[in-house]
Symmetry: C6
Subunit: 72 residues, 6 copies
């Protein structure tokens, strides 16, 4: 059982896969109020891993994400 | 297993499907205190994708939604 | 699997069904600190739909509810 | 599947059943920062129903409870 | 299904069992910002019960725990 | 059922296993706003145990983690 439904036919999962392929810059707003912006390296049922403009690899817990959007 | 029960016979799922068909403008209040307003493009067990008045596609995590209502 | 246990024999589900039948006015306190007050139209495993005094239909995510009580 | 494990052999469930039998006054601290104090009427996998000193029946979502303790 | 995985072979469950046996003083930091410190009496899939320095038995919801550590 | 998907083939689980092997210093940002920094001792479906610079063993609830990143 995944904490998020990780069925790759789902729009929410496919959307992130496409953002990874496009190497898009994505802005995440977290429940803490933090904004994390960068390129998504990978996703799985628990997390999304982002590399930001300072080349820091940040692993975000999916349940902590309020929303995200592609930038530019 | 879905993080939300994604049975299309459920009122909560049907309601969003109808709002999509109607291209209604919907206001979402998130647990962060953010308001996101726009037209719903799609929903799945994890998320709702909204295009706002600035044509930004915003993917909202369903667990982060406090409430929503159709505007106008 | 429901995000809330939606077994209609449970007191919590029956209680809301009764409040719907009684067309009672119910006050919901959400995790955001918001109060939403109105008549419950329907409930399902994910949400409760309320019509408030301004006739706005507000769909509340059940996980975002802290507590509720019948008014008056 | 219950949002909380509602196995009556569990200490956490039995403890609340005993507090109900004892008609004890219990203080609940919620994730919102609210305190709700009163006598527990019933519990189920989703909620606890409390009657407070103003005879208001308040239904608390179990996931919104931070902690509780018997008073006096 | 437990809200937390209550497999006693897991380090997180065994760790609490050991703290109970040692009658250790443990500090819990909750999502509300509260600190609760005391000796753990029992744990189950839903909760941890602590007796604090004022001999108050406090039942903490496991999902409300941010972190904990043994004191002294 | 794990509160997080604890399949060791998942990137999020493998990543933490690697950080443990590397004895890396990792910074965790929690939903409470707390930062906890240290070396990860172990992880399981519920928690991550970190030893900080004051040699304190801190057990973090995985659902309370907003994000984490390796330092230095």
């Amino acid at each position: 059982m995944a904490i998020t439904e990780f069925d790759t036919s789902l729009p929410s999962i496919r959307q992130v896969q496409n953002l990874i392929k496009q190497a898009a810059t994505v802005e995440f707003k977290l429940l803490t109020g933090d904004f994390i912006t960068g390129r998504i390296l990978w996703q799985d049922p628990n997390s999304v891993c982002v590399v930001d403009e300072n080349s820091r690899q940040i692993t975000i817990s999916k349940p902590a994400i309020a929303y995200f959007l592609a930038k530019g």
